[in-house]
Amino acid sequence: MSHLPVLILVVYFAAALLLPLLAKLKNSFPGWGALAVTSLALLLSIASALYVGENGPYSYFPGGHGGPGIEITVDWVTVLMHLTINLVGLLILVYSLGDLKSELHPDSLPAYYSIYLVMLAALNGLVMAGDLFNLYIFIEICTIAACALVAIKPGKLCLEAGLKYMFLSTLGSGMILLGIGLVYMVTGELNMGALSEAIPLAFSSYPWNIYVAMSLFIVGFGIKSALFPLHVWLPDAHASAAAPSSAIHSGLIIKVFIIVVARLIFQIFGANLFAAIPAPEVILLLSTIGIFAGSVLAIAQTDIKRMLAYSTIAQISYIFMGFALAVPSGIMGGLLHIVNHGIMKSMLFLAAGAIIYKTGIRKIDELRGIGFRMPLTMSIFSIGALSMVGIPGFSGFISKYYLAFGALEAGKPIYVAVILASSLLNAIYYLPIVVRAFLGHKEGKFVWDQLPWPMATAMVIMAAFNLLFGILPGSLLRLVELAATALLS
């Protein structure tokens, strides 16, 4: 039983408390301090992964009493998500070192890094919470930090988007808390391990409590992770926020909530209870509508960040579809898409941010020929776009392959057609940008885009991971397979 996961949280919170004070000593300290802390957290999560690889999953009880109570569950899902969250968080942080000075007020920079670290801590804590109390506390920390990350950029659009996100997200939190209350009312337990044994007994005497609690969880987490009809806050929030904030929102935050609801449903309620109410059918239907609606609305957008936000809605619906299929390949596809889309969408948002940083252009029509002025950024954008469409050789193809395989394994081949059709729709709104950037103009000279080195480095490393997971996905696939088995058992 290793203390490493708790140390990740301790390190993040300690740094978040101390960074604003150190900023008074030296002005550039918050960024580099946050970078050091996030690198340390990434090393700790790698060490934790190696530990779980040797010793297997374990439960950790803060307070040292060893019995059911507040629990931290460290299994393969936790390890996978820790690696993803800390890696993507680190790369976005590296990017923000070069970009934030131009987007935020200089006085709010230390506060931004503090909130960013608290956000990463809350995300790490969410995937390892082993009881409902812990879970709710981390959900609230995550909600407040996420709203703050959107609203910290000066300007009225960000304020409105942050306020709208806060109201809707609080509705979700209220529903989740009510669901926790309903479950506690009939079982008297909050620990997830104890609940997984107590719920079948409670279900025989109080079925309606369990049904309503499960529905409240799905809707509450659906608001926070932008399931189709509950996605209305997402375009405003992701399009108006600063580039690193959009990247971490689209790449990490909404996905962690899907992991949490998947863990709740598969490990507490059980997959057969989940299938008893027609929840899988409803979620599959909603995710299909979401895929098509998100893609169609993305085609109609003129602002590049808004288009990426609507594309996120479509991709989240893919992940929901993978989890609702409830077969090992489908869940593997969902988890793979969480990792791959986390890297891809963050990369796309960071590239869009780099374009806005260098040229100030936000409208897609004005991006004609920009590939000649910013070849590195547009190459990385092209890698991201091709990966989103699902071209083999990029990581997006692997996750869509497993999703299609899962649809076949569940006996619902119509979803293969859905995936193929939506990949075509993805191509309709991604490829014109790539084509127009490189082939739109008559001029043929390439001018190197002089971006600040943190921005360029972060984007290049993300593109490298994308290609790595697309061409040599072996180790990632093994990890995801272990995680999927852990989720279903």
Binding site: F133, E140, I144, C147, M166, F167, G174, I180, L190
Partner: protein, 112 residues
């Protein structure tokens, strides 16, 4: 049937508060009323949880402290969200001169 209603009056009151807060948050156009709706909704949930710890009066033994401890954390979250929401509303008022959500949407529509 009426005595069952009276026995579960606390749950009924909690759900009533939850629904009133939920409805206010969703539909009322005044932003500060939305924040008040947030608080009412959270109050309903707190009442629901804390009444779960009731054990039947002086002869029934010790009350269960666990739901109260849970709601403690929830209270801190509700206070923080209220503070955050009100601070953002203050800034929005400086930009737009109004705290009515419909007026803000119309001003935004004619500005674009």
């Amino acid at each position: 049937m009426f005595d069952k209603l009276l026995a579960n009056l606390h749950f009924l009151a909690a759900m009533l508060l939850f629904i009133i807060g939920f409805y206010t948050m969703l539909t009322d156009s005044n932003l500060i009323k939305k924040v008040i709706g947030l608080n009412i909704m959270d109050t309903g949930i707190f009442l629901f949880f804390i009444s779960l710890g009731y054990s039947g009066g002086p002869a029934g033994g010790e009350a269960n402290p666990l739901p109260s401890a849970l709601m403690y954390g929830g209270l801190a979250a509700a206070v923080s969200l209220t503070a955050f929401g009100l601070a953002m509303i203050v800034r929005l008022y400086k930009y737009y001169g109004t705290i009515d959500a419909d007026e803000i949407m119309s001003k935004r529509g004619e500005a674009e």
